[in-house]
């Protein structure tokens, strides 16, 4: 693999973006699966289960979405990205069975463990044995889906 200057520039930006993402997850409290479950525990809003509803995740999603809407909304003014020849954004707009079934399976796993892929990967060195069980299953799960459906 011979990396061009543009590849290296892209990798440096991506490294920085990964660090900022991890800082955001940690400040947002998303590295703690019980806070994620605390948000998904909607019954607690109605006093069921004895838990207290934790709206943290809504604030994290809201803050992220605010910037994201602005970032993608301003896209037309760009000619090309700083370190890449062109924009490579998803183009599909149809709703198919794979999207629906995939989202259902993901939602179930997310609820059980309180981990989605971002916080799970960011927790590799801090999540103890739990995260090794989770990631040790998540990565093969990805490979199986890739093999069957692509």
């Amino acid at each position: 693999m011979s990396a061009t200057t543009s590849d290296v520039r892209a990798a440096i930006i991506a490294l920085g973006a990964g660090l900022v993402f991890a800082a955001g997850l940690t400040l947002g409290g998303m590295m703690d699966p019980s806070k994620v479950q605390g948000f998904l525990d909607i019954g607690a809003l109605f006093g069921w289960g004895g838990g207290k509803w934790d709206p943290s995740l809504a604030f994290v999603m809201g803050g992220a979405l605010l910037v994201s809407l602005f970032a993608f909304g301003a896209a037309k003014s760009h000619q090309a990205p700083w370190a890449s020849a062109r924009f490579e954004l998803p183009t599909r707009r149809d709703i198919d069975a794979k999207l629906v079934v995939g989202a259902i399976l993901f939602g179930a796993g997310w609820g059980i463990a309180g981990y989605c892929p971002g916080p799970a990967l960011a927790s590799l060195f801090t999540g103890g044995a739990d995260i090794l069980w989770f990631l040790g299953a998540m990565l093969p799960g990805m490979l199986i889906a890739q093999k069957w459906f692509s």
């Binding site: 409290g29 998904l40 909607i42 803050g63 979405l65 910037v67 739990d130 990805m142």
Partner: protein
Amino acid sequence: MHPYLVSLVGGLLIGVSVWLMFAGLGRVTGISSIAAAALTAPKESLWRYAFLLGLMGGGLLFVRMFGAVVTSVASPVWLIVAGLLVGFGTVLGGGCTSGHGVCGLGRRSPRSLIATLIFMVVGMATVAVIRALHGGAA
């Protein structure tokens, strides 16, 4: 600072990361897609490895720096079940909380809106079932 404000700042930082990836690389920051492609297309994935290195190294750095709490909520068997569901489901559905939830909604994608509504509702239903059966963790 109020904890909800700290969470909001955390969210804004995630947004900044998404903006960096878009303005810099012209790509959406979908963590499941980045991880899956890093596994299956290693040759074109220098930027993906760099992002994952930043994410994992940053996790270690900031969890230590901020003294973040990490709670165990599920047994190993359930963690494995959940990991398989999350890995399989995000690749099948083409995205996760970041790809569909943050970037997709930011791009006003109808696919991402549907996916986000579904995984939120199913996640909530799953936690409700867990609470009903165990009164606590899985």
